[in-house]
């Protein structure tokens, strides 16, 4: 099922709708470490957790580790800390599968929040597809500043860093680089929901969309604060 905003009461930029359509298509394809069915079920369980985080749920598709990640990252990200992470990775879930699940959840949440903002019904998730994960791990990825391995900035990251995030980038962009396709998806959404990656650190840059940069940053700051996000 393809995502569409054509029935929305308000006109949605075509480039934004297409970015969300690419995300939905990527959810339904086999990932790097998760199957198509796992990716869709992780996103679906994260959506359920956001709507009623108190319920314990089972899933015939997801392992306990993936289910826990969907529940917490989707429904209660404020509670995430190192102790929780260490309980999950690698005991219940490999770090590669964890990073991919975080990317899938985070990106799918953005579609739900966008729909909620416009007063739209949340879009149905796409059907899953056959196929196997590629299981390709970046050779340079290692734990440096965060909990999960990332492709290092600069020379140490080499061609992988250049290919995945332009050589040098902020930690929040590198964070998912253990699964390069998740960074690709993140950068796509960043550009169409907020500002092109290369322009983010220039506060004078205006996207000339419906709100000014100051209005954008005020909203971004408040959403981050409401989520208790220091970063």
């Amino acid at each position: 099922m393809s995502l569409s905003y054509s029935a929305a009461r308000y006109s949605v930029r075509q480039d934004l709708e297409q970015a969300h359509q690419r995300l939905w298509a990527s959810l339904s394809a086999p990932g790097t470490w998760l199957t198509s069915a796992e990716r869709i079920e992780v996103a679906s369980q994260a959506r359920l957790a956001r709507h009623d985080g108190t319920l314990e749920r089972n899933s015939s598709i997801l392992s306990q580790g993936l289910l826990e990640v969907a529940k917490v990252v989707g429904g209660n990200p404020k509670s995430i800390n190192r102790i929780w992470f260490d309980e999950i990775v690698p005991k219940k879930l490999s770090v590669e599968r964890y990073v991919e699940a975080v990317g899938v959840i985070a990106r799918s949440v953005s579609v739900d929040v966008f729909s909620k903002g416009l007063g739209l019904s949340l879009p149905d998730f796409p059907e899953w597809q056959d196929g196997s994960p590629t299981m390709v791990r970046p050779a340079t990825a290692k734990v440096d500043v965060g909990w999960v391995p990332m492709i290092p900035n600069g020379r140490e990251g080499g061609q992988e860093a250049i290919k995945v995030f332009g050589g040098v980038n902020a930690n929040v962009i590198r964070a998912l680089s253990l699964v390069p396709d998740e960074v690709k998806g993140l950068l796509d959404l960043l550009e169409h929901q907020y500002i092109e990656d290369k322009k983010v650190t220039d506060p004078s840059y205006e996207s000339n969309r419906g709100i000014s940069r100051a209005q954008t940053e005020l909203l971004a700051g408040r959403v981050s604060a409401l989520n208790d996000c220091f970063y």
């Binding site: 934004l16 975080v102 953005s110 965060g146 000014s212 940053e217 959403v223 604060a225």
Partner: protein, 116 residues
């Protein structure tokens, strides 16, 4: 930090306190409406969100509502990535953040343990 340097922002530092939830002047056009929308979209009160949406429509139009929804969507995504991976704030951003950490009260966040 990016708010401080952005075009169209001539407000006081109290705008930063407003980001933390204080009832302060933002110095940003339609700032109160934007903050109310941010709060409503993060909560599950449909009536509150409908009211906030209508104020945004009145003040910023349909295009403004779409962009506010897109930005809220984007940062709902970014906070989950940052919190789930335990990344620290990048050194240049940390030095920029130092003078405003008290105003924003962000050191109290659970995620500050990872980020600082």
């Amino acid at each position: 930090m990016l708010l401080r340097g952005s075009n169209g922002f001539d407000g006081p530092d109290s705008a930063l306190a407003a980001i933390s939830g204080a009832d302060c002047e933002t110095g940003v056009a339609s700032g109160a409406a934007i903050l109310a929308f941010a709060e409503a979209i993060m909560e599950s009160d449909e009536k509150k969100l409908a009211c906030a949406r209508n104020v945004i429509l009145d003040q910023l139009g349909e295009g403004g509502l779409v962009e506010c929804s897109a930005v809220a969507a984007n940062f709902s995504q970014m906070v989950r990535i940052a919190d789930s991976t335990g990344i620290p704030l990048d050194p240049p951003l940390m030095s920029m953040a130092d003078p405003i950490r008290d105003v924003l009260k962000i050191d109290n966040f659970e995620s500050a343990k990872n980020t600082i």
